[in-house]
């Protein structure tokens, strides 16, 4: 059974911290660690917004968002999505039996995107599946209802009209 950070103090709220924490033991491969390093280097320049999901003082995953465009259509790009290796593929009761990655995507689409859209108009949420894995493309199309696979130049992007 998982509880969230400050669960006793704040009456079972979920906390999403807008700060970066190094997932020191959260990498499965060196590639993953290098990707985070690259992301942070860029973040330090661009100051993207990112959200870290914490429970029990543990950083479980994070999502970073950036503005982009596809064919002159403004998009909100899921720039970086990471889940600590210990929590991958696990479903959590407190997250409505979702995995961390699904929760972070739903959080982006259901909470953050509508807030941003009230300030800045964009048409799609876009996502580039890591390693262009077909399995991952299939997974995203399944967990993001009404999404669309844009194939161009031997690469796939997942788009969601918003």
């Amino acid at each position: 059974m998982f509880s969230t950070r400050k669960v006793e103090k704040y009456d079972k709220k979920l906390f999403i911290f807008e700060f970066l924490e190094l997932f020191q033991d959260g990498f499965k491969t060196e590639r993953e660690r290098q990707l985070l390093v690259s992301f942070i280097k860029e973040h330090n320049k661009d100051r993207n917004t990112f959200y870290v999901l914490e429970m029990d003082n543990k950083s479980m995953g994070m999502v970073s968002l950036k503005f982009n465009n596809i064919n002159d259509n403004p998009t909100l790009d899921v720039d970086y999505l990471f889940v600590h290796k210990n929590y991958r593929k696990k479903k959590f009761k407190i997250l409505d039996n979702k995995t961390i990655s699904q929760f972070l995507l739903d959080f982006t689409i259901g909470i953050i995107a509508p807030k941003i859209k009230s300030l800045v108009k964009f048409k799609y949420i876009s996502l580039y599946p890591d390693k262009q894995s077909k399995k991952l493309v299939k997974y995203y199309l399944k967990v993001i209802p009404h999404s669309f696979e844009l194939k161009y130049n031997k690469e796939s992007w997942i788009l969601l009209k918003i």
């Binding site: 807008e18 390093v37 973040h43 982009n68 689409i109 259901g110 844009l150 194939k151 788009l159």
Partner: protein
């Protein structure tokens, strides 16, 4: 994940800026035929989520 690993180096990837007509039409069709449906996300909208704004707690990437 808008990065990719190529020849041992990490490269940023960008969405296509200009699409061929055929793909452009597919995208337009998707836009026209898709109804924005937020119902799959109702569960998360009902959750008691607090977004705590914090300062970046950054580590120094290796040079």
């Amino acid at each position: 994940m808008a990065f990719k690993w190529k020849n041992g180096k990490i490269k940023r990837v960008y969405p296509p800026q200009k699409l061929p007509k055929k793909i452009e039409r597919e995208l337009e069709k998707y836009w026209e035929e898709t109804v924005v449906d937020m119902s799959p996300y109702e569960y998360i909208q009902k959750m008691d989520i607090e977004i705590v704004e914090g300062k970046a707690h950054c580590f120094q990437p290796e040079k």
